[in-house]
């Protein structure tokens, strides 16, 4: 390519007038003209297509836009454009939760990638968000990605997919060393408030990475102290806020936004590296979400089965090896879903007495309640998405719906791509009900439906939020009704109580939950905490007390989260970046 170009630096103003500069660049074209060769329309079209692929317009034009599987909001494009143009690809993206920082960062990644400026991209995210990143990159941006775990090695070469890694995995050797040993073109850190402290393992990891471009995503760049902000900004632009001593001397070292000296000066500096949009600013409002819980009284045989399984799990769980523990946790969750789901696993565990008990327990009261509920929604003309965590429950529910004459389609992760598309198309067209597992519906447009039923409740609240996000998302125009079906006396009933009472879970904005859970501790795992409490408790009252304590931690984390949000609002001026 370089042989056929005429390069001009601004200092060499004479070169443009020099006809000698033409020879190399134009010779072969001139030869063909002189030979009287006719224009070949096919070759012309090929050249036009090659130009489309090859040319890289300015960052005020998004070359990736025609390839996207969705239409970004203007403020998201503006944020990505500002990060690329004015901030040279090093920025803190600090939009409020739910406004799409992931989209903005992925737009930047996509632009850099398509222009050949970022063959090597790393995304670090909390473990709970890695799958979501993968899905967004794949479905919305058509960008292949790979999750890096311990033992990962860079494939190298220009075709390398975007590397995704959970912060928890990435900060530990050997993955830490593998990531830090490479030179990255772009690193994206999601929930970057977790890396502001340079003394934590996550903070040290990010400081050990070498990257030309760096995007830090956080809705609350000020967590506890003003120094959080200093550390984040210094990561994207070292020296921008001076040395730590200069920063303290200029703005103080307060524990919150209150009492910051020279606030106007700080805001001006921040606007050069940070972009924050607020809901009020972009007028992005989702319709209301209404959550209701149907507590179902189990039949006597169901209650006895649940009790027996819980006792067996509790007895075997104390001191069990990790692998056995995982199986026990699964059995306990299956017991909260349906008797049908329990049977195969109980048989595998050789708990044949309980397997026989489960096989005789029938469909269960919850399933009967669901069928009634679906019939009512059908009569009202509503389409309903029913979520369950388990395939066996899904199959049992599909059989029940068929018996009841309710048109339902089943969707799960094992379906082939074409069957998945056919299922969604059938749901959009004729079927009233979509019965689906957790994995299903990812990236699918389900906004034409506004009723959702959680047939069983995941213990991990992030999973609940992901389910909500399937229909309560941009594009939804109607109020969303969420019905949680729980059997009385189950762990799910208690979890729901805690999440509702302490977190107001179903009214949180999608995205906010992770920020709250992340504040409890770096590797906090709600599901494990619940199971540990179940195993450790001597009876139901003890279990309730333990869950209540866990709930208090959640409530405290929520308070900290809200305070951080207020501090950020006070420090970061509203609007786009400074030019």
């Amino acid at each position: 390519m370089s042989t056929a170009t005429a390069i001009h630096e601004e200092a060499q103003s004479e070169e443009a007038q020099s006809p000698d500069g033409l020879s190399g660049a134009y010779e072969h074209l001139l030869e063909r003209l002189e030979a009287g060769q006719a224009v070949n329309p096919g070759a012309s079209r090929l050249v036009d297509d090659a130009l489309e692929l090859w040319s890289r317009p300015g960052f005020d034009t998004f070359v990736s836009l025609p390839r996207l599987g969705f239409e970004p909001f203007p403020y998201q494009l503006a944020a990505a454009g500002a990060a690329l143009r004015h901030m040279q690809g090093r920025a803190v993206l600090a939009d409020e939760v739910g406004l799409g920082k992931t989209i903005e960062a992925a737009l930047v990644a996509s632009e850099l990638r398509l222009r050949g400026l970022a063959p090597r991209i790393l995304v670090l995210a909390p473990a709970g968000l890695v799958a979501q990143w993968r899905e967004e990159l794949d479905r919305k941006f058509a960008l292949p990605s790979v999750e890096a775990r311990a033992g990962w090695r860079s494939a190298g070469g220009p075709e390398e997919p975007i590397v995704l890694a959970s912060l928890a995995a990435a900060r530990r050797p050997p993955l830490r060393d593998a990531l830090a040993g490479l030179s990255w073109d772009l690193v994206v850190v999601d929930e970057a408030h977790r890396v502001s402290n340079p003394r934590t393992a996550s903070g040290r990891l990010v400081r050990a990475l070498r990257s030309r471009h760096l995007l830090l995503l956080t809705a609350t760049p000020v967590e506890n102290r003003l120094s959080d902000l200093f550390h984040l900004v210094s990561l994207v632009r070292p020296g921008h806020l001076g040395t730590p001593a200069q920063f303290r001397a200029c703005h103080g070292a307060g524990a919150s936004a209150e009492g910051v000296r020279n606030l106007a000066g700080l805001r001006t500096r921040l606007a050069q590296v940070m972009i924050r949009h607020r809901r009020s600013e972009v007028a992005l409002m989702l319709p209301r979400r209404i959550a209701q819980t149907r507590t179902v009284a189990p039949a006597r045989c169901e209650a006895e089965l649940y009790h027996a399984v819980s006792e067996r799990v509790r007895a075997e769980g104390r001191g069990a090896l990790p692998q056995r523990m995982l199986a026990l946790r699964t059995v306990q969750r299956l017991a909260g879903s349906s008797p049908a789901a329990l049977v195969p696993t109980l048989e595998k565990l050789r708990w044949s007495d309980l397997a026989a008990q489960a096989a005789g327990a029938g469909a269960g009261e919850k399933a009967r309640t669901l069928v009634e509920l679906l019939a009512r929604h059908r009569a009202a003309g509503d389409k309903v998405v029913v979520f369950t965590a388990f395939r066996h429950t899904l199959e049992a529910l599909a059989a029940l719906a068929a018996e009841a004459g309710i048109p339902a389609v089943a969707y799960h992760g094992s379906l082939a791509r074409r069957d998945k598309e056919a299922a969604i198309a059938a749901f959009a067209a004729d079927a009233d009900v979509l019965l689906t597992t957790e994995a299903a519906g990812e990236g699918r447009n389900l906004q034409f439906c506004s009723v959702m039923v959680n047939f069983d409740l995941p213990w991990n609240p992030m999973r609940i939020e992901q389910r909500l996000g399937r229909i309560h998302r941009i594009g939804q125009e109607r109020e969303v009704l969420v019905t949680n079906l729980v059997a009385r006396g189950t762990i799910e009933e208690r979890i729901l109580g805690v999440l509702q009472a302490k977190l107001n879970l179903f009214e949180l904005v999608v995205g906010e939950l992770d920020m709250i859970l992340g504040r409890i501790e770096e590797d906090f795992d709600f599901e494990s905490s619940v199971f540990d409490a179940h195993l450790a408790s001597v009876d139901d009252a003890d279990f309730l007390a333990r869950l209540d304590a866990l709930g208090d931690e959640l409530a405290a984390a929520r308070t900290v989260h809200l305070a951080g949000r207020a501090d950020t609002d006070a420090l970061v001026a509203e609007g786009g970046p400074a030019k």
Binding site: A25, L46, D49, L51, P57, Q88, T243, R417
Partner: protein
């Protein structure tokens, strides 16, 4: 998304077909198939390090499930094919169709010539019938790459349309009109006005380069302010660091003085290096890469005229373009200055400068 994806794969398949590959044609025709099959000839297999038969797609899910090669923008195979196509370029001659309407009469053209191309102290008179001819117009396309800073680089596609006899621009509007006029397989019965290809290419290149320079000036302004800001920040940072070293040196014991002096020198060296890096980072450049040179044989009418001043007559030729319904701009017959208003002098026809 699907349409663009199909176009991407379609491009590569057509390129591969041009190098002897066999394809199922789905991608090339923008079909709705999930993946397209392609069989490569041995030289292409070796060159691209690909198997003889493979399927390609632009859909990541199809690639994942069916094992097809994922060809999306940025893929080295696409970049390589695109680079090669652009290096080969697109050159040739094409003939534009004559307009279906009747050509204007000599009298009508005379009136238009007087209206459009006034001559000081003279009058344009028609001196014969308009003759059909082909005017060679050079269409030169280049990709201009701008680098305002290390981070900010972009490319723009630019075209120039020039009269291949004189090198004078025919204007972008006329170029757009020519681009939308259908082509015919060969020339009709008309005189061909001979081009000066090399001079025309030079003239078109100069036009495009001048345009790129003007564009560069605009975009460089942004780079300059970013450069000044970065320089100021770096200088403030190093000034503070040096100040701190100086203060610590003043309070330090004599045996530590040399240490601080060394630290200050190292800081100054680092500062100078950093400042040089910033200047390098923001050094603006631009680059022209030609990808197209077409000679379009454009239907024209050559009108013999005479410019009259009293009894004096200066014979002249004007070129009427039916496609744009305008005469081509004329250059001074004496000095060749393009577009200068003509003056009928007592002894010659020329521009004001020639007659001064």
């Amino acid at each position: 998304m699907r349409a663009v994806a199909d176009r991407t794969v379609g491009f590569w398949l057509r390129w591969a077909e041009g190098h002897g590959a066999l394809t199922d044609g789905a991608g090339g025709k923008g079909g709705t198939g999930d993946a397209s099959m392609v069989v490569l000839p041995p030289p292409l297999q070796a060159d691209l390090d690909l198997p003889e038969a493979l399927s390609v797609t632009a859909d990541p899910e199809v690639a994942r499930e069916d094992g097809a090669l994922l060809l999306i923008p940025g893929h080295p195979l696409l970049d390589r094919a695109a680079g090669q196509v652009l290096d080969d370029g697109d050159a040739g001659i094409a003939h534009l169709a004559w307009p279906a309407s009747l050509p204007p009469s000599a009298a009508c053209l005379e009136a238009k010539a007087r209206d459009q191309l006034g001559v000081d102290h003279g009058r344009i008179d028609v001196a014969g019938e308009p003759l059909p001819a082909y005017l060679p117009v050079l269409r030169l396309g280049v990709l201009v790459s701008f680098a305002v800073s290390l981070e900010e680089r972009f490319q723009e596609r630019q075209e120039a349309w020039v009269d291949a006899r004189t090198g004078l621009s025919v204007g972008d509007a006329a170029g757009a009109r020519f681009a939308s006029t259908p082509w015919v397989p060969g020339p009709g019965p008309a005189r061909r006005l001979g081009p000066d290809l090399e001079a025309a290419v030079r003239a078109a290149h100069a036009l495009l380069d001048a345009r790129a320079r003007r564009r560069m000036e605009v975009v460089a302004r942004h780079g300059a302010s970013a450069r000044e800001a970065e320089l100021a920040r770096a200088e403030a940072y190093y000034a503070a660091t040096l100040d701190s070293v100086t203060r610590r040196k003043a309070a330090a014991a004599p045996e530590r003085q040399a240490l601080y002096e060394e630290q200050a020198r190292a800081t100054e060296v680092e500062r100078d290096r950093r400042v040089a890096e910033i200047h390098e980072k923001f050094r603006p450049r631009h680059e022209l890469r030609p990808f197209r040179a077409h000679i379009l044989e454009v239907p024209a009418l050559v009108l013999p005229v005479a410019v009259r001043r009293g009894e004096r007559r200066y014979p002249f030729e004007l070129t009427w373009l039916p496609a744009t319904r305008r005469f081509l701009a004329v250059s001074c017959p004496a000095c060749g200055d393009p577009g200068a208003p003509l003056v009928a002098g007592r002894r010659q026809l020329g521009c004001r400068a020639c007659l001064a």
